[in-house]
């Protein structure tokens, strides 16, 4: 059964970023699977009102006051009237919020529960427990997640973190990772390589290395390029990077660095270069647009990621997809992201980072040791098989089916079912929790859940929820549902495909059932 889903987050295009592309990719893949998806975000400079993106993805840029780093001012109730209006006119059944720092998402989840809708929350980041800001954020998260139907985290570490922070039942938390569009992160094609080496040396980048050939290690004098692409913040481990670069360069005379990204630590980085006079071996590119990341990545052999905390690390997948060997710190969700043969792990400290980088250089030069040589040329294909957005959308759809209680076996209705029928039957009940999958809507039950949040906080939260409910009743009287226009849906491409399919089958079955489709394919193969 197709769902009507509203994705809500403060973070969306035109601002670039990981959460933004996650929302966009997931939404477009869900639309491909026959659902209706809208996105609600706040208004950006020059981007207000209602917009349509590719494939009929509708975006509401709600006019709101932005306070800090594109996060809206947390006015708990002011968003309710317009949120209710949008939800009613679009016939939304599931509200899916993203990013725990987005107040718009938290408010929307609260209001959605008041309105009796199913809610899902996706957490994209890790938080500490010690400092004051984290405690406050965690309390807020606990408040919101007391009454959410399901939570999705991007890695198991993130799940553990979220469960602890928000005191959740681990059974209602799923892990669905990010993905990359592998076709956007292809390694250099030989033809491209020729172009890139001959022309285009405008910004004094080192030429891209020749494509890795199988089992042909680099010689001791061949240049090795290490790429670092990250925002230069404390939590991204820029200090570690600054400390290790001189030592790495001193040990390996054939190594060069390309560093892209901007941030408050950029000055420290430049000072380090000045102090050690490393300008000829380290290239600073400054901020790089997301579309250009691949062009930078393909110029390197090794991708170095010294982050101190990371929930998932999409950039690692992107780098591996460009056939780079990964050197990264063993923090957060990073160890879950890539298989061991693509990565060299380090502890998040200077000495170990230098050791790991040297090990990676050694691996490239064929001094494999126990690991043997690396086959970088195979990375792209492997990553392409591991991560795809259609797979992510399928898994998210399963969460939706679970919380709405609709039959999950229909999830293969599009005929491109991920599992074949036997496996489908086997997986049908996978992930179904022992207790009812979704939370009760009765106000008194909701209040009970909120009351458990803390001695003072519990009472405050209950007050908020009661006010929210009264506001809801008031809105129902003042702006009755009958006065709200219902939108037309974007014409679905699926219908055309359905007609074609019916035509192919000679009109025998209009319903495009997954099993029928699959058997017919098998017959075709046999014949």
């Amino acid at each position: 059964m197709p769902h009507n889903i509203a994705m809500i987050s403060d973070f969306f295009y035109p601002q670039p970023g990981g959460v933004e592309s996650h929302i966009y990719q997931l939404s477009s893949k869900l639309i491909d699977r026959g659902h209706k998806v809208i996105i609600i975000t706040h208004a950006y400079e020059g981007r207000t009102g209602v917009r349509y993106l590719t494939n009929g993805l509708k975006v509401y840029h709600v006019p709101f006051f932005v306070i800090y780093r594109e996060t809206t001012f947390p006015t708990v109730f002011s968003f309710f009237p317009i949120f209710r209006n949008i939800v009613i006119r679009e016939n939304i059944q599931i509200v899916h919020g993203h990013a725990s720092l987005s107040s718009l998402c938290h408010e929307a989840i609260l209001h959605a529960r008041t309105m009796g809708l199913r809610t899902v929350f996706t957490d994209h980041s890790l938080f500490g427990f010690a400092d004051a800001a984290s405690i406050l954020t965690n309390k807020l998260l606990k408040f919101i997640l007391s009454d959410v139907d399901h939570v999705i985290c991007v890695s198991h570490t993130c799940k553990e973190n979220t469960v602890l922070r928000a005191s959740l039942d681990p059974l209602m938390v799923s892990v669905i990772p990010n993905a990359v569009v592998a076709s956007n992160f292809r390694p250099l094609h030989p033809s491209e390589y020729a172009v890139a080496t001959t022309s285009n040396n405008s910004h004094s980048l080192p030429p891209p290395p020749p494509p890795p050939t199988s089992a042909q290690p680099l010689g001791p004098n061949d240049p090795i390029t290490i790429v670092v692409i990250s925002r230069l913040f404390y939590n991204k481990g820029t200090d570690l990077l600054i400390a290790s670069i001189p030592r790495i360069l001193a040990t390996h005379p054939n190594v060069r660095f390309i560093i892209a990204g901007s941030g408050p630590k950029a000055i420290d980085l430049e000072q380090m270069l000045d102090r050690h006079i490393l300008h000829d071996r380290v290239t600073l590119l400054g901020p790089v647009r997301h579309e250009e990341v691949r062009d930078v990545m393909v110029r390197g052999h090794i991708y170095l990621h010294p982050s101190l905390t990371e929930a998932f690390g999409t950039v690692l997948v992107e780098a591996a997809s460009c056939n780079l060997l990964i050197v990264c710190t063993r923090v957060g969700g990073i160890p879950e992201v890539l298989p061991g043969h693509m990565t060299v792990f380090a502890k998040p400290e200077e000495d170990d980072l230098v050791r790991a980088t040297s090990e990676a250089v050694g691996l490239l030069m064929g001094r494999g040791g126990p690991k043997g040589g690396v086959r970088r040329e195979r990375f792209h294909e492997q990553v392409r098989m591991m991560y795809s957005w259609s797979d992510i959308a399928r898994r998210t759809e399963r969460v939706y089916d679970l919380i709405t209680g609709s039959d999950s076996s229909e999830s293969s209705r599009d005929g491109r079912g991920y599992y074949d029928p036997q496996e489908e039957a086997m997986w049908r009940h996978y992930g179904q929790p022992s207790r009812p999958a979704s939370q009760n809507f009765a106000l008194i039950d909701r209040l009970k859940r909120y009351y458990g949040c803390g001695i003072w906080a519990g009472k405050l939260f209950v007050l908020c929820v009661v006010v929210d409910y009264l506001l809801f009743v008031f809105l129902e009287l003042w702006f009755p549902r009958s006065g709200i226009d219902i939108c037309r849906d974007w014409p679905k491409k699926g219908k055309v495909a359905e007609m074609d399919g019916a035509g192919d089958d000679g009109g025998s079955s209009l319903k495009r059932d997954g099993t029928i489709r699959r058997t017919s394919v098998v017959e075709d193969d046999g014949g």
């Binding site: 207000t48 009102g49 209602v50 509401y60 709600v62 006019p63 009237p81 317009i82 209006n85 949008i86 006119r89 702006f479 009755p480 009958s482 006065g483 709200i484 226009d485 219902i486 939108c487 037309r488």
Partner: protein
């Protein structure tokens, strides 16, 4: 707002082959707070269409007409009486200050009962009360209780939008847009107050902003502040779609067959 009556009446002016159809949707009894306007479609000639949207109650029964008539008469009488009071007050003041015994219409105030009442009222009220209260009453009298907006489409020539004025004293504001500068007509959605609404807009060549066709609620009206809320006459989506289709069909010549 549920009761958008869609009354389509075509008055073909003696042109044969012009079918008149009348479609009326019954208005629900309750929900009088959100009584809304109606869309009226008229075909004065085969090549013109006039779409009118009004917040006026669409009922056309005898009782409703009679009530409307009585209210109008009452307004007129109150207005006249107010003028009379003002005049009497002026007279009283002048007479007191100038010590002159005669002014205009002395007989009326001396003998007529109405004049007497007006003088009584005028003597009891100070200027500082009289002026604001009369201003309020005059405003209430001249205020138009409804808003009417229309779109006149003339094939091959252009469209004319008009919005009725808020008072009876001024005329409606109109705008004519010739066909050759119309780039497109579309329906879109926009945030308006606490709502998202549909609107019909015309893209005019050489202008930064689009022209919103039934603009009262969509462009900067503080309708919530007014006494009667349903100033919001932005028609519902179906009505807009009807106007849009009709306009498209009428504005652009059908292909020669």
């Amino acid at each position: 707002m549920s009761g958008w009556a869609l009354a389509v009446e075509s008055r073909s002016l003696g042109i044969s082959g012009f079918v008149s159809r009348v479609r009326q949707r019954p208005l629900p009894e309750r929900d009088n707070l959100h009584v809304s306007g109606m869309l009226t479609v008229k075909h004065p000639t085969p090549t013109t269409v006039r779409y009118t949207v009004s917040t006026r109650s669409p009922t056309r029964t005898f009782a409703a007409e009679l009530t409307r008539l009585c209210l109008g008469a009452l307004r007129f009488t109150i207005g006249l009486f107010l003028l009379l009071v003002l005049f009497a007050k002026a007279r009283v003041t002048l007479v007191e200050s100038n010590r002159s015994q005669t002014w205009y219409l002395d007989e009326l105030f001396a003998k007529g009962a109405l004049g007497h009442v007006a003088t009584q009222v005028a003597e009891h009220l100070a200027w500082r009360w009289l002026i604001p209260s009369s201003a309020v009453i005059l405003w209430a009298i001249f205020r138009r209780g409804y808003t009417e907006e229309s779109l006149l489409v003339i094939r091959g020539l252009g469209v004319q939008t008009s919005t009725s004025s808020p008072t009876y004293l001024s005329t409606s504001s109109t705008r004519f847009i010739p066909t050759n500068v119309i780039q497109d007509i579309f329906i879109h959605e926009a945030f308006k107050g606490f709502e998202v609404k549909f609107y019909l807009a015309i893209v005019v060549e050489g202008e930064e902003d689009v022209v919103v066709v039934f603009p009262v609620s969509s462009v900067g009206s503080d309708s919530i502040a007014c006494a009667d809320r349903p100033q919001n006459i932005l028609p519902k989506r179906e009505a807009l779609e009807e106007v849009w289709r009709g306009t498209k069909a009428c504005l652009y010549e059908p292909k020669a067959t």
